[in-house]
């Protein structure tokens, strides 16, 4: 047993314990807190697995944003609904469920242990093709060149999650302002943060996107940071989020995926859907990432704010 393995074993135990606490707890708020801790532990596991890009995405999106979404949903649900977890199945049903779940986990473990320990996946092929990809970070190369089509569809998935969330608004509030009214004091701590942090956040976000071509980072991680800043500024009462009917807002939401799609279509006209000439690949990928970052930031911020709740500011 090496010290590294001991550390990893402890990390795995903590993650499993946090997950059990999040699933099994009685108080939902506590469960969400455990869930966020769990996400951060998983992010550390990603660092241990040498996957820094995933660690950043897991910490920012898997733990952070998902946690915030869960907390704000919990606040809204508890205002309107009875909170009891009524009608949970009897003891027998629970034992049956537990056995089923243990079976699934066991089957997975069995399959994992049956894998070839020398399996290298696509690592050699990716290293070989990397010089033609236009970027030095292999993960970015997969995301924005080799499998750019996945990423294109994924950016559209995220945007349509927002459209779907909006479609659940009250008819009367349509076209109005997203989220609930904020009551921040203009001399409070939040307002001070709201004025101080944006320049730093902006630098971090731009760095994450720019560095993503060579080092860990990218549009999704950078977009999350931008979204957080925008929300902070809005929560501090310095600006209002725009109305969902606002044309500039809608243009900003659509711009990134639309530009990406246009790049794909132009490639098709030149012979290959989403084809990037190696010489131009870096410039095109950076442009696509910049567009995506803007749209992702706007989409994520509005996803957290939720569907239009009021027509007056």
């Amino acid at each position: 047993m090496t010290p590294a393995l001991v550390f990893d074993g402890l990390l795995a135990l903590l993650a499993v314990a946090a997950a059990m606490a999040a699933i099994g707890g009685r108080d939902l708020f506590g469960s969400v807190a455990f869930f966020i801790v769990y996400g951060l532990l998983i992010a550390i596991a990603w660092v241990r697995l040498d996957a820094i890009d995933v660690a950043l995405a897991e910490a920012a999106i898997g733990a952070g944003l998902t946690g915030i979404l869960l907390i704000s949903a919990l606040a809204r649900v508890e205002r309107t609904a009875s909170s009891g977890e009524s009608g949970e199945g009897g003891r027998l049903a629970k034992i049956a469920a537990a056995l089923l779940c243990a079976g699934v986990a066991g089957a997975l473990a069995w399959a994992a242990l049956a894998l070839d320990p020398q399996g290298a996946g696509l690592t050699p092929l990716i290293s070989e093709a990397l010089p033609q990809a236009g970027v030095g970070n292999p993960v970015t190369a997969v995301l924005l060149n080799f499998r750019a089509y996945d990423t294109l569809l994924e950016s559209i998935v995220l945007l349509f999650a927002l459209v779907a969330v909006w479609s659940l608004a009250d008819d009367g509030n349509w076209g109005g302002l997203p989220g609930l009214r904020q009551h921040a004091r203009s001399d409070g701590v939040l307002a001070t943060f709201g004025r101080l942090l944006p320049p730093f956040g902006l630098v971090v976000a731009v760095y994450l996107v720019w560095a993503g071509s060579e080092n860990p980072g990218g549009a999704f991680q950078g977009g999350t940071v931008l979204a957080a800043i925008w929300l902070l500024v809005a929560m501090a009462g310095i600006t209002e989020l725009p109305r969902v009917s606002s044309l500039p807002l809608r243009a900003a939401l659509v711009f990134g995926p639309a530009f990406f799609l246009a790049v794909g279509a132009i490639g098709a006209l030149a012979g290959t859907f989403l084809g990037l000439a190696p010489a131009a690949a870096k410039a095109i990928i950076l442009a696509v990432e910049a567009g995506l970052t803007l749209s992702i930031a706007a989409t994520l911020a509005l996803l957290v704010a939720g569907s239009p709740q009021r027509t007056q500011g």
Binding site: I23, G89, V104, A105, Q118, T123, E154, L158, V165
Partner: protein
């Protein structure tokens, strides 16, 4: 991935499998809708961890970039689904005052003219 816990990849693959099991239990056995969404996310990250760990079988070559990219895509997709599920649940709570689904069959007595008022 031979049976011996030779290095961390095997350990994290098994952790991922365990997390899938734990999350699945929450998803099927708990009734509060928010907890079921939370459980969905636990299963999701278990699947990703499992996937990422199997992509780290050869530490000499480094982590396979392909699973990493697919996992980042998967995290965004999971976030999108989570956001929609949570919006549905808050809407349902506002309309019904409930935080878990009723067990009875679909309501046969829905309002009469409600079906075609999409333009409204």
């Amino acid at each position: 991935m031979s049976g011996a816990l030779g290095h961390s990849a095997t350990l994290f693959a098994l952790t991922g499998a365990a997390l899938v099991g734990i999350g699945l239990y929450g998803f099927v056995a708990r009734t509060h809708l928010l907890r079921r969404v939370l459980a969905f996310n636990v299963i999701g990250s278990g699947v990703f961890l499992f996937f990422g760990a199997t992509g780290f079988r050869r530490p000499d070559l480094g982590a396979d970039p392909a699973p990493q990219a697919l996992i980042i895509t998967g995290i965004i997709v999971a976030l999108s689904l989570t956001a929609l599920a949570l919006a549905l649940i808050t809407r349902y709570a506002a309309l019904s005052g409930r935080s878990s689904l009723e067990d009875e069959a679909p309501d046969d007595e829905a309002p009469d003219a409600g079906d075609e008022r999409g333009g409204g």
